[in-house]
């Protein structure tokens, strides 16, 4: 299997006031194509910093990071923007959809910055929304959608550019149990279809939907193990 993420002795430190915080203290991690990894850890463990670096939202202080073979740690700001646009699909805890903008326009945004023509944009955005079960909600604005539906819109937005990895930061944090299960079902389906999924969560039962769990504590990986009894959501249930 081809590795999509290769991280070698990655360090990240923040300066808060005159205090220096070591968020990541030399982390090495490889994630292969088609994997479904859950990153877990208590708050302050460095899992969010890890997710920001993997998502190219933040640059590491030192260390090597290759995304799909591309050396991210050396990239300039605008190059990072292109990488985020083409290779990464983000799903956030609080959805981060543009307010007062319809679902289909929200999903179109990455394509817009990717320079795709208007007609093609609309076609692919509609397709992505249909694939997450929102065919009926194309022209609704975020405030007209339930939390689960908003999260589906943001999944559609993450998918629309056919990224190399799908990066989900606490995607079920703002959702109830049943909706959380539906969302995890979508991730499992996408993973079954070959998409690499990286999930950041602090909920053990959500992490069990993944194939592998990487545990962080104090800026270091303390465990990296396969999930023995993996939870499955049946596809039929999700599409209801």
């Amino acid at each position: 299997m081809k590795p999509v993420i290769q991280i070698e002795s990655l360090k990240k430190q923040y300066q808060i006031g005159d205090q220096e915080i070591q968020a990541l203290r030399g982390v090495s991690l490889t994630i292969e194509e088609g994997d479904f990894v859950a990153i877990m850890g208590p708050s302050g463990s460095g899992k969010s910093s890890m997710m920001n670096v993997i998502g190219c939202l933040d640059k590491p202080t030192s260390g090597e990071f290759y995304l799909d073979g591309f050396p991210v740690s050396e990239a300039a700001d605008d190059e990072l923007a292109v990488i985020r646009n083409e290779k990464i699909g983000f799903v956030f805890q609080n959805f981060n959809l543009l307010p007062r903008t319809t679902a289909v326009e929200n999903v179109e945004l990455p394509l817009l910055y990717g320079g795709v023509s208007a007609k093609e944009r609309r076609r692919r955005a509609v397709e992505a929304l249909i694939s997450v079960g929102l065919a009926e909600r194309l022209n609704n604005k975020p405030n007209e959608l339930s939390g689960g539906q908003q999260q589906r819109v943001s999944i559609a937005r993450a998918l629309v550019n056919d990224p190399v990895i799908l990066l989900a930061d606490e995607p079920t944090g703002a959702l109830d149990t049943k909706t959380s299960e539906e969302i995890m079902g979508i991730f499992q389906q996408l993973n079954d279809a070959g998409k690499t999924v990286i999930l950041v969560t602090h909920e053990p039962d959500i992490a069990e939907y993944a194939k592998r769990i990487v545990r962080f504590r104090d800026g270091q990986i303390i465990a990296n193990e396969r999930v023995e009894k993996r939870r499955r959501v049946f596809a039929e249930e999700v599409r209801q």
């Binding site: 920001n52 998502g55 939202l57 933040d58 640059k59 700001d77 605008d78 923007a81 292109v82 985020r84 646009n85 083409e86 983000f90 956030f92 981060n96 959809l97 543009l98 307010p99 007062r100 903008t101 326009e105 945004l109 990455p110 817009l112 910055y113 990717g114 320079g115 937005r157 550019n161």
Partner: protein, 405 residues
């Protein structure tokens, strides 16, 4: 990303945030409209002052007595009783002079039946209507014959008529009134001219100057001589002619100072224009303040909306917008809002100026330069304060922009 796409994004964003867009534009609209309307009022007023002064008489020169000195005490302009009817007549002989109206002034109590009224009394000659641009609305003005023969006839202004004959429909022409207990016949009523400055031109009684001198004011001296020059380009010539004429009339030695003063209409005009230009400056100052207030409004809304917009910038950056994309979007948004606001402001400002001149009884004059200044200033404020916070936000790391609360 193409420029066209950028414009599309900006327009979509303006439409999606309707209230914020309208509020931003409102600041610009108010600023621009206020400047245009204020300056239009100011300039309109100064041009109407100019036309009022022109209405005092065409090519008017005013000859007044000089200053008298009594034991080293200067009694001020007009205190000398130096002008006479003979001076006026001599001036009238000059080619550069069209007509001459000498005048004496006083106040008089006018009585009709049980009504009485105090007004200013002016004794003059038949040339007065020509020289001072006065028209008779009812009846007629007195003739040279009546002046020569010291007739007891009077022409009165509308204000006098209103006060004296207010409550009945009596035609004032032909009525006999008592002016300072001397009976006079009213032969005409002057057409209303309104007031110019502090003087109400409708509140006066005109009688033959000879009658006035012999029966009311006394003495042989003329207060003022109004002269109308033959044409506007011969004003200076007329002024010189008047000077030499009166000097020879008064037998003044060459080294002696003039014992009279000549003021031309253009002198008065330039004084009045100074006054009205300082009024325009005042109004422009007020307008500039409203432009600043409008600008601060724009600034506030732009800055306040930055919280929400910082998140938006974070989202856009997270999904692949480059810094340049963000800046371009915000620049186009700010320019669009400023342009629309400016254009609406111009329409409202010009409209307000037109409405004021039509229904507000004030004359307004719209000119291009205040429109340009107001438009450019407000647009600049809009663009600077639209782009500056966006530029700061665009420089944030996407993760910081996303976390911004």
């Amino acid at each position: 990303m193409s420029f066209l796409e950028c414009i599309r994004i900006s327009f979509r964003s303006i439409k999606a945030n309707g209230l914020r867009s309208v509020l931003t534009m409102l600041g610009i609209i108010i600023g621009v409209a206020a400047v245009i309307a204020m300056v239009a009022i100011g300039e309109g007023t100064s041009s109407s002052v100019a036309s009022q002064i022109n209405g005092l008489g065409s090519n008017l020169l005013i000859v007044a007595p000089g200053q008298a000195t009594q034991g080293r005490v200067n009694l001020g302009a007009g205190s000398l009783n130096s002008l006479t009817l003979a001076d006026a007549e001599a001036i009238g002989q000059k080619e550069s002079v069209a007509s001459v109206a000498p005048s004496v002034n006083g106040r008089a109590q006018i009585v009709w039946g049980s009504n009485n009224y105090s007004s200013s009394l002016e004794g003059t000659t038949a040339a007065f209507p020509d020289v001072r641009n006065v028209e008779v609305q009812d009846g007629r003005f007195f003739t040279n014959f009546e002046v020569k023969q010291q007739f007891n006839v009077a022409v009165v202004g509308t204000e006098v008529v209103n006060n004296l004959f207010a409550n009945n429909g009596t035609n004032p022409v032909g009525q006999t009134v008592q002016i300072n207990r001397i009976p006079f016949t009213i032969i005409g009523v002057l057409k209303s001219q309104g007031s110019s400055g502090m003087t109400n031109n409708d509140d006066r009684i005109l009688i033959p100057i000879t009658t006035a001198m012999s029966r009311l004011t006394g003495g042989n001296n003329v207060g003022t001589i109004y002269v109308s020059a033959a044409s506007s380009d011969r004003m200076e010539q007329a002024k010189l002619d008047i000077q030499t004429t009166i000097r020879s009339q008064h037998n003044l030695r060459p080294q002696a100072a003039d014992d009279f003063r000549i003021t031309s209409q253009s002198d008065i005009l330039s004084t009045a224009q100074e006054v009205s230009s300082s009024m325009t400056a005042l109004l422009s100052g007020i307008a500039a303040i409203s432009l600043i207030v409008g600008g601060i409004g724009v600034m506030n809304i732009m800055l306040v909306s930055v919280t929400e917009r910082t998140r938006e910038i974070g989202i856009r950056k997270a999904i692949g917008a480059k810094r340049g994309d963000i800046l371009r979007q915000f620049l186009i948004e700010a320019v669009t809002l400023s342009l629309i606001g400016g254009i609406v402001g111009i329409i409202i400002g010009v409209g307000a100026a037109l409405v004021i001149s039509k229904f507000g009884g004030m004359s307004t004059s719209i000119s291009l330069s205040p429109i340009m200044y107001a438009f450019l200033t407000s647009s600049l404020v809009g663009v600077i304060f639209g782009v500056y916070p966006a530029r700061k936000a665009a420089q944030l790391k996407p993760i910081d922009a996303l976390r911004y609360e």
